[in-house]
Amino acid sequence: MSELLLNLVRPLGVPWPARGLAARAQAIVRPLIFPALILLVWQGAGSFRLVDPVLLPTPTRVLGALYEMLVSGFLNPHLAISFQRVLLGFAGGVAVAVLVGALTGYSRFWRSIIDPTLHALRTIPGLAWIPMFILWLGIDESSKVVLIAKAAFFPTYLNFMSGIARADRKLIEVGEVYRLRGARLVTRVLLPYSLPFLFVGLRQSMGVAWLVVVAAELMGASSGIGYVLLDGEMTGRAQIVMACMIVFALCGKTTDFILARLAHRVLRWQDTADRE
C-alpha cells in the first residue's frame, strides 16, 4: 500500500525505486530474444542445407571468420585505417559545419546568402561526388577523407544552424540587456542553447560517416574494412563480407554510444524526463 502511495506522489522525472534483479535481467534479455531467434533459424537453415551456405554462410561460419581475422591480426590495420578515415572526415566535416552553422544561424543576412546553395549541394547524391573528388584530389587518402567530411557536414550543419536560429528570444533578450553582442552572444547564449541540437547532428554525422566510408574505400583503396569487404565479394567469400558488415555495425554502434554518453554528460542541465 505504502509503495502504491509512493508511486502516486512521485514527482515527474524522479526515477522509480530500484527494481529487483530479476526485473533488470528481464529488461536486458528481452531485446535479445528476437535477434537470437533469427540467428537460430538462420543457423538451422544453413546446417540443414535449406539455403546455399556459399551465398548465406551460417552465423557460426561468419563469427569464425571474424574471430580468425581478429586473432591473426589481419583485421587490425584495416580497422585502424577505417577509423582514421572516419574520424578525420567526421572532425573536418563537423568543424566546418559548426562554423558555418553558427554564422548562418546567427545572421539572417548570411543565411540568405549561403543556406540556399548548401541545400542545393545537399541534394546531389554522395556517389556523384566520387569522380570529382578523384579528379581533384587523386585516389589517395585525401579524396576519401573529403568524401566522408562532405557527408558528415550536412547533418551537423542543419541541426546546429536551426538550433541557433530558433534560440529562445527571451534568453537572447537577457543577453542583450547585459550588453552581449555578436560573438559573445553566440558563445554565451546561442551556442549553449543549441548544444542539444548539435549533439543530434553529431550523432547523425557519425552514422553517415560510417555509411560513407564503405563508398570511400571502394575508390581504389588497398586498405580498410570496406576494402576487405570488397575483396570478400571478389573472391566469393560471403562469410568475410558478412564479418565486415558486423565490424561496421559494431564500430558505428560504439562511436554512437560514446557520443550519446558525452551528450548525456554535457547536457545534464536539461530539465527533461530523461527516458533514454
Partner: protein, 250 residues
C-alpha cells in the same frame, strides 16, 4: 533623474505608445499599472533599450538611452535563467565585463542579499519558482544599477510567495538601492510597494493618472486609506464597473 520626452512607439501602423512624457527619480519605487495590452510592457522595453522609439527620447541623468545600458537592468515576468548555468554563473552573466575578483565578490554579496548562498552551484532546474525569481532579481541587482525595471516579476508566483517577495523587494531596495520602475496588474501590490503610481490608458499608452502614495510603511491592506486608493485605481482601470455600480445605486 529618468526623463521621458514625447516618447512614441509604433509597430507598423499600430501606435503602441505615446506621445508620453514622464520624469521620475525622487521616489524609490514607481509603479506603472494599466489594463492588458495598454502599452506598459512597451514602455519597459523602451526603457531597457530592447525597442527603439519611433519618436522622442529617454535620458538617464542627462545621458540619452538608445540601447541596453549598463546602469539599467531588468527582471522579467519569468526568471529567464540560462538553464545550462549555475545560479552563481547566471548572476555573474550581468557583470561579465568586470574583473574576476570583483565579479566573485559581487555575486557572493547579492546571493547573500536574496538568501540563496547555499544554492550558488545549483542548476535552475533544481530551484522552486520563488527561488528562480530571486535569482532573476539578484542578476538584475548585482551590477548596482541606477534603474531597476521589474516586469510583473511576481505574477507567476503563488499568493504567499508573492507577499514574501514583495517584502523582500522592499528590503533589498532599501534606502540606498536603485530607483525601481515596476510594471504590474496587481493594484494591491502597487499600493503596498510604491511611492508613486502611474496609471496608463491605451493603446497608445498615455498617462491617465499620476498618484503619489504617502501611506506609512508597512502598509496594512485593510486600512481605509489603502482601500480608498484601491477604489480610485479600480475606477481608472475598470470604468464600466463603477458606472454600472452607480447606475444600480441611482
Amino acid at each position: 533623474m529618468i526623463e521621458i520626452h514625447g516618447l512614441v512607439k509604433k509597430f507598423g501602423d499600430f501606435a503602441a505608445l505615446g506621445p508620453l512624457g514622464l520624469s521620475f527619480g525622487n521616489e524609490r519605487i514607481l509603479t506603472v499599472i494599466g489594463a492588458s495590452g495598454c502599452g506598459k510592457s512597451t514602455l519597459l522595453r523602451l526603457l531597457a533599450g530592447l525597442e527603439t522609439p519611433t519618436r522622442g527620447q529617454i535620458t538617464l541623468d542627462g545621458e540619452r538611452i538608445d540601447g541596453p545600458h549598463r546602469r539599467i537592468s531588468v527582471a522579467f515576468q519569468e526568471p529567464r535563467l540560462m538553464p545550462w548555468l549555475s545560479v552563481a554563473a547566471n548572476v555573474e552573466l550581468a557583470i561579465w565585463d568586470w574583473p574576476a575578483e570583483a565579479r566573485r565578490a559581487a555575486v557572493e554579496a547579492v546571493l547573500r542579499k536574496v538568501s540563496l548562498t547555499a544554492f550558488a552551484q545549483a542548476l535552475p532546474k533544481q530551484l522552486s519558482g520563488g527561488m528562480a525569481q530571486r535569482v532573476g532579481l539578484a542578476r538584475a541587482l548585482v551590477g548596482n544599477p541606477r534603474l531597476l525595471l521589474l516586469d510583473e516579476p511576481f505574477s507567476a508566483l503563488d499568493p504567499l510567495t508573492r507577499v514574501r517577495m514583495q517584502d523582500h523587494l522592499l528590503e533589498i531596495v532599501g534606502d540606498d538601492g536603485p530607483n525601481v520602475l515596476l510594471i504590474t496588474h496587481d493594484i494591491e501590490e502597487a499600493i503596498v510597494l510604491s511611492d508613486r503610481i502611474v496609471v496608463l490608458d491605451g493603446p497608445p499608452a498615455r498617462v491617465r493618472r499620476d498618484l503619489r502614495i504617502d501611506l506609512p510603511r508597512p502598509r496594512g491592506r485593510a486600512s481605509a486609506a489603502f482601500q480608498e486608493i484601491k477604489e480610485l485605481l479600480l475606477a481608472d482601470l475598470l470604468p464600466d464597473r463603477i458606472d454600472a455600480a452607480h447606475t444600480v445605486a441611482a
